[in-house]
């Protein structure tokens, strides 16, 4: 095979080399270059995506000089508290419930707070007020969100790579010795009262290794949503808004085992989708009734 230098295919390779490598002249005779690697960082971030940068620890590679510069830049704009130091930032958005809208900005981790900034502080909380954190999927939007429990309130965050956002927040909190409590589903439900809950098997969709798997967990019926909590991963894997549920019925489990009954819940996602739960027939019947009762139009 022939080596290529076709520009679009190799831009990242070129950047890697021109910005990170090559001969460096010793610092005393060149102009102060402290701020310059930022060009590289910014540009590569734009190409690779800021999340990738964080993922590969490039942010940590910033040396003290660059940190000093970014601290200085930040100081000019950001209203920091006394003794407050920024340790990282990530682009994220936060659901502003009063306005019923998402607000995007840079989410800053500091030694005192986590705050979201764009021209002004859009959201802030002291680290010690954060009690819990969980990732949950919004079935309608088809995307995962982070729910943070802060004292008595729950706030919702989103980022392109939600797992990085989770590590970003969680890492910071834990660095300061705050231990998040084990995921408590209760707070997720944002003030919704839990109507009923049972242990329940859930047919997890196919992933890399397997077609489908039954996974153990807990099913929750709340005022507005149906949640399934994965006991292994300790997170909410499924959220179905009650008003999206189209049909609920007990079926035979095919093709696995026709003697076994499963609860099939169909809802309007991007198309009509059906998800399956399993338990004893008695419990399934109870849930069939519960869900039917909760549904706005009798199924």
């Amino acid at each position: 095979m022939e080596p290529t230098r076709e520009r679009n295919a190799t831009l990242v390779d070129l950047l890697d080399r021109v910005l990170d490598k090559g001969l460096i002249i010793n610092a005393d005779i060149i102009i102060s270059l402290a701020g310059i690697p930022l060009i590289g960082v910014n540009l590569k971030a734009a190409i690779a995506g800021i999340e990738t940068m964080l993922e590969y620890g490039m942010m940590q590679e910033w040396d003290e000089t660059i940190r000093a510069i970014s601290r200085k830049e930040i100081k000019e704009k950001l209203p920091l508290l006394e003794g407050e130091k920024i340790s990282g930032k990530m682009f994220a958005s936060y659901f502003y419930a009063e306005g019923d809208t998402w607000r995007a900005g840079w989410l800053y981790n500091t030694n005192k707070r986590i705050f979201l900034f764009r021209d002004e502080i859009l959201f802030e909380t002291a680290l010690e007020k954060i009690k819990g954190l969980v990732i949950a999927e919004d079935i309608v939007d088809k995307r995962k969100e982070i729910y943070l429990e802060i004292e008595n309130q729950v706030v919702k965050f989103h980022a392109k790579n939600i797992f990085l956002l989770k590590d970003f927040i969680k890492g910071q909190i834990e660095k300061f010795g705050i231990i998040l409590k084990k995921t408590d589903v209760q707070f997720l439900i944002e003030g919704q009262e839990i109507i009923h809950s049972d242990k329940m098997w859930y047919m997890a969709p196919a992933d890399k290794a397997f077609d489908k798997t039954w996974q153990p967990g807990q099913l929750y019926l709340a005022a507005k949503d149906l949640y399934w909590y994965n006991s292994f991963d300790e997170k909410i894997m499924l959220t179905i808004p009650i008003n999206k549920i189209m049909e609920v019925k007990i079926e035979e489990e095919k093709p696995y085992n026709a003697n076994n009954k499963v609860l099939a819940v169909s809802y309007a996602g991007s198309s009509k989708e059906t998800t399956f739960f399993s338990n004893s027939e008695e419990i399934l019947e109870k849930w069939e009734n519960l869900i039917k009762k909760a549904m706005p139009i009798a199924a």
Partner: protein
Amino acid sequence: MVEKPEVKKEKQEGRYVYCVVDKAVNFDTAGIEESKVYSIPYKDICAIVHACEAKPYKSDNNEEVKTWIISHQKVIDKASQGTTAIPLTFDMIIKGSDNKVFEWLKKEYENLKKKIEKIKGKQEFGIQIFWNTKVIASKLDIKVIKELKNEMTKTGKGKAYFYEQKIKNILQKELEKKADQYFKDFYSLIKKYSDEIKVEKLKEDNMLANFSCLVERNKVKELGIELDKINKLEGFSVRFTGPWSPYSFV
């Protein structure tokens, strides 16, 4: 962003250095932002520079930065024709006039000559090897997994989940072993044709190896033939980029 090649009196002047070449060359071309690029010789080497204000090129506009970087590379490409060139990293600006560059060359002469010797007649290439773990996993023939799968078909769904987890873990470990083995194999294969190899960070999920290699010109073709073989293996693909100036080896 205003970066004019004409140096104003009240501002400190500087020299943007692109590379150092091993011959006294006359160089006259356009560089970053159409600046006039020229050479500053010392003995048998010279620095390829343009005059600018002693201020870094800095911009929030990525397109602009991209253009700078491509210009930086173009100048080095041109300077490398018929010479051995040590590429400098972007934005190396020496404070002062030609004189300062000259002093730098003088002071660093031995060092620069050593580097030139090292890279003479060689070019840098990027080699990235990707693998499709699904394909590789499907070809793995592992007795334990077969047995587990067999047992699993005879068990209830509750237990099946645990079997599946177990199989996943075994597969994961096997794949890691495979990755190690392939990495070593590919490394030694590429090493045969390379003077030096730098192992770079893996930048994507399915990347198995990422190398920067310093290769003699007359070995590039053979290296390409070997890479072709890897590329044809089921479940593998290879990205071969270059030739680059030897950025990773200076």
